[in-house]
């Protein structure tokens, strides 16, 4: 588990990206991996497989639920969908993440007041 987190940008980042992605529409594991890869401009060198431990964690926490189905390409896929609880969680997480980002960027920004 620690290995995964070390590879993340920061603990929980991967989870947040997954949740955020699932907020738009339900996806199966492979599609989720591809989506995250593309939208993050390959910035995150995440092994595709590391998605799965994270997904299991979220299943256990009750933020997502999974159902087997058949994809457009006629594959057996397990589709993940955000639960109501998951939606609330991601909103909380995102807002606190944004607050943190704002804080960080204020500190990092050149001191405007003095200029």
């Amino acid at each position: 588990m620690t290995d995964q987190q070390a590879r993340d940008l920061f603990p929980g980042a991967l989870e947040m990206m997954i949740l955020q992605t699932l907020k738009r529409r339900p996806l199966h594991g492979y599609a989720l991996a591809q989506h995250i890869k593309q939208t993050s401009n390959d910035l995150l060198q995440v092994e595709e497989g590391s998605l799965y431990p994270a997904l299991q964690r979220m299943l256990k926490a009750g933020w997502v639920k999974a159902e087997w189905g058949v994809s457009a390409t006629n594959r057996r896929v397990r589709t993940y969908q955000l639960t109501r609880e998951g939606r609330r969680h991601v909103e909380r997480q995102v807002s606190s993440f944004e607050r943190m980002l704002e804080g960080i960027s204020r500190v990092l920004a050149p001191a405007k007041g003095k200029g």
């Binding site: 092994e47 497989g49 590391s50 299991q56 594959r75 057996r76 896929v77 397990r78």
Partner: protein
């Protein structure tokens, strides 16, 4: 119950997970093929992008588990399975650990009871014994630093009158056998004489009635007795009306004032207690008291020792000149433990050695197991198992084995305490008995952890050393070279420690042999002895006493088959009475000394067949009205009179004196006046039983139970009954307390040596066995590991014999180093035995040579036995398997 449902649906969760990961890989592969890659390339690219699938799956599963506990449980199950698969190995290890930890636990109950567990009294830290401490340098240049807890009446009076910081009580160092008359029966019971404050000082309250009053403890005070609960139950059927009534004890009425609680724990075992009435006269004229003290509220030990310091009993002046003598309060536990401490520490050292030997052996075995699994470990690491998981597994096996060993070891200790404790001489059992309490189990736990760490250490180091590539690349060669060296060192240490144990038990065996086989000085065959208590007011009168002895011996003489009958205050193998005397003439005239002594009847020496060396023996003519006479033994003549020509010389006893009429041979006795070996020839003088005066008769029969002895022509069945019947004719109220043959008395005198020899020999044998198993294991493993090398050697023309010697050499080299180190260690370690050895030096070359040869022989067997398997190695087939 969400988690409960999850627990049962886990199988489905895992199956879903596997399937979906599988689908993921396939989808990616299909996509890559669509971009134009070959199926093979696509598949490996997909895998690369995916990461370590097995590991990720495991991590995903872990989400659903209580990781740590489940991992441990899984490792536990795995290790347990491995152990079940190797029952021989498991059994060996668990058995070794059980014996080693069991022995340590058992012996530690003694250490615990002696030194650690508080005495079974309230505030035991406020209890002390009064000791005489002698320190300094004697005129002969010998340094001295000794403590002695025997005190005389004057010291008691000084303490009582001058040391206000304590409440003190005197008591007799041992109980004495006395006869108790109840109804028409006479019972022989143990009477312990104690001061009025004895129970109060120890904090023991009576079950019924009261303890002694101060008045009852004054010289010539009223006769009072306190019964033990057990005696009260058996003899008086628990009758409460016994309080205030008189019982006939020692021929006089004693008022029962109290009954003690059941299982009362006193410093001396007793059936009843009577007041000791300490003072400076009578028995108080010698060091016949022991004194226990309790610190009064608000006082300190510094205060007590301050008050003790100015005290100067007159006996100090008679003691060793030149040394500084002072009275010191010594913690009671320390004082009580002293006599038992040495044997206990020797045993503890021996079992600690066993534990070390066992640990070294098991470490070697574990090492072999890990070495055999090197390639398995490397494979697992290559597949992504973290080192922590592998270490956890390496530690799990020793942990399980140690847990099993410790549990069974504690059981073994419990069992042996309950089954064999009765074999121990009662003198070795500490106050309060031996129990497995929390402290002992704590020690067992420490043993387990210690051994566990030792035997897990080597597998852990070996595991850490495993590197994946060389191990996997070269499967055929076992990476066991380094471990071979480690095992040799382990075996060498086992041999070293075993040799020390063997040498120790060898020395004790030689001591026992010396004590048992050195000439006794008399003929012990066909002699039966019987002792009885004459601590009875009827026999304080010399005339009555002499009539009893004379008439009872005449009656015993009438028993068919009896050759001679005699009586004496003490027997060979027993302690004699310590009595002072003055040499009146001859080369050492004027010397005042203390020696062992005894009164005897004229036939005493003839019945025991002790040879007369010079002069004459006592006769019936040496009566109370005749001139006082004495006989001395050869040692007495040499030690105190300075000449063998002693007939006609005179010894002074106070105002009286006696002429020496004969010299008699030495016999083996327990030490009295001089602390020698447990049995040795002591200087003894003898007086006729007819010439002992009234005050002496009264005192010595409190301490000694005299013995009647009969010599028969051949063994007679029913002799004890016949002797008792003869005695009953003369005095119906005088039962014999016990019957012994003279060899019984020898065994009794040597009981501590015997038990020491027995225990140490068993332990040394165990150590030898463990070491032999260790050497055998080392060489067997060497044979297995080097099959290929041996095959090549033999293919190149090496003979079978050369190959065997070559392989066994690794074992013998370890043995050689171990033996040398063992001999060196023995020279230092065996000093602990010095005080226990008689007739043999602690570096006895014969013993050391014998045990070294024994070790060497066992080691040779253990080294060459496994090499027989070399004969079955077929060079062709070993080479072909390459």
């Amino acid at each position: 119950m969400n988690w409960l449902r999850r627990l049962f649906s886990r199988r489905k969760l895992y199956a879903d997970l596997s399937l979906e990961m599988q689908e993921h890989l396939e989808e990616r592969t299909a996509e890559l093929i669509a971009t134009g890659l070959s199926p093979d390339e696509a598949q490996s690219a997909a895998r690369r992008e995916f990461g370590n699938a097995a590991l990720l799956e495991e991590h995903s599963r872990e989400v659903w588990q209580w990781t740590t506990i489940e991992n441990i449980l899984r490792d536990f199950r795995f290790a347990a399975r491995q152990l079940r698969r190797n029952p021989g190995f498991t059994l060996t290890v668990v058995l070794t650990l059980t014996l080693a930890i069991g022995a340590n636990t058992t012996v530690f109950t003694m250490v615990n009871a002696l030194l650690i567990r508080p005495l079974p009294y309230p505030h035991p830290e406020r209890l002390a014994a009064l000791t005489r401490h002698l320190a300094g340098v004697l005129p002969n240049g010998r340094p001295i630093d000794e403590s002695d807890d025997s005190q005389d009446g004057e010291t008691w009076e000084l303490l009582r009158d001058n040391v206000s910081a304590v409440q003190a009580a005197a008591y007799s160092f041992d109980s004495s056998g006395v006869n108790l008359e109840a109804d028409s029966r006479v019972r022989y019971v143990q009477d312990h004489r104690v001061s009025s404050a004895y129970f109060e000082v120890l904090g023991i309250k009576p079950f019924l009635g009261r303890i002694f009053t101060a008045e009852e403890d004054l010289p010539k005070g009223p006769n009072a007795a306190i019964l033990s609960y057990e005696l009260w139950q058996t003899l008086f059927a628990g009758d409460r009306n016994i309080l205030g009534q008189a019982i006939r004890l020692k021929g006089e009425p004693y008022t029962v004032v109290g009954v003690m609680s059941p299982h009362v724990q006193t410093t001396v075992q007793a059936d009843l207690w009577t007041p000791i009435q300490p003072w400076r006269g009578g028995e108080g004229g010698g060091d016949n008291y022991q004194i226990v003290m309790r610190l009064r509220d608000g006082a300190t030990w510094t205060q007590v020792n301050g008050q003790l310091q100015p005290l100067h009993p007159s006996m100090f002046d008679r003691l060793l000149k030149g040394a500084k003598i002072e009275l010191v309060a010594r913690p009671l536990q320390e004082d009580l433990a002293e006599a038992k401490l040495k044997p206990t520490l020797i045993l503890m050292s021996a079992v600690a050695l066993i534990l070390l030997i066992a640990a070294a052996n098991l470490a070697g075995l574990m090492l072999v197991r890990v070495t055999r699994r090197t390639s398995e470990i490397a494979t697992r690491m290559a597949l992504g198992a973290p080192r922590s998981a592998i270490l956890r597994q390496a530690v799990m096996e020793p942990l399980i084995l140690c847990l099993a060993g410790a549990t069974l070891g504690a059981d073994l200790a419990y069992f042996s305490l309950h089954s064999f404790a009765s074999l121990f001489p009662s003198g070795l059992i500490p106050l309060g008995g031996l129990q497995l309490d929390g402290r002992v189990l704590g020690f067992t736990f420490l043993c387990m952890v210690g051994v566990g760490l030792l035997i897990a250490l080597f597998p852990v180091i070996a595991t850490r050393r495993v590197s994946i590539r060389p191990t996997l690349a070269d499967r055929s060669r076992n990476a066991g070279a380094g471990s071979g060296r480690t095992r040799q060192i382990l075996v060498a240490s086992e041999v070293c420690l075993t040799l020390v144990l063997l040498a120790g038990s060898g020395l004790l065996i030689r001591t026992l042999l010396y004590l048992e086989t050195s000439p006794s000085g008399f003929d012990s065959a066909n002699v039966l002895t019987a002792s009885a208590s004459l601590d009875n007011s009827r026999y304080h009168d010399p005339v009555v006493f002499q009539r009893l002895v004379h008439d009872s011996l005449s009656a015993m003489q009438q028993i068919p088959g009896v050759e001679s009958a005699a009586m004496g205050l003490s027997l060979p193998y027993e302690r004699g009475l310590n009595d002072g005397f003055k040499v009146l003439d001859g080369p050492k005239a004027g010397t005042e000394m203390v020696s062992s002594s005894a009164y005897v009847t004229p036939d005493y020496f003839r019945a025991l067949r002790i040879p007369l060396v010079a002069g004459r023996s006592f006769t019936d003519d040496d009566s109370s009205s005749a001139a006082p006479v004495a006989m001395v033994n050869v040692s007495f003549a040499r030690k105190f009179l300075g000449t063998q020509d002693v007939v006609g010389l005179h010894l002074g006893f106070g105002k009286a004196s006696a002429t020496i009429v004969g010299v008699i041979g030495d016999v083996k006795k327990r030490p009295g006046a001089s602390a020698n070996a447990p049995l040795s020839t002591e200087a003894v003088y003898y007086v006729p039983y007819t010439q002992v005066d009234k005050p002496s008769l009264k005192i010595i029969h409190v301490w000694f139970e005299p013995s009647w002895l009969v010599r028969t022509h051949a063994p007679i069945t029913g002799l004890p009954d016949a002797m008792q019947a003869a005695m009953t004719q003369i005095d119906p109220k005088l039962p014999f307390a016990r019957f012994h043959s003279l060899s019984d008395l020898q065994s009794l005198a040597l009981s501590q040596q015997r038990i020491e020899v027995l225990l140490l020999t068993v332990l040394a044998g165990l150590a030898l066995l463990i070491s032999v198993v260790g050497i055998f294991g080392l060489v067997s493993n060497m044979v297995a590991q080097r099959r290929r090398e041996i095959g090549i050697r033999m293919a190149l023309g090496c003979t079978l014999k050369q190959a065997m010697v070559h392989v066994a050499g690794s074992g013998m080299a370890a043995v050689g180093i171990g033996l040398t180190a063992g001999l060196l260690l023995a020279m230092v370690a065996l000093r602990i035995l010095k005080s226990e050895l008689y007739g043999v030096k602690n570096l006895d070359p014969v013993t050391l040579a014998i045990v070294s040869l024994l070790m060497l022989f066992a080691a040779l067997l253990a080294s060459f036995a496994p090499t027989l398997r070399i004969a079955r190695i077929d060079p062709a087939s070993t080479l072909r398997t390459e």
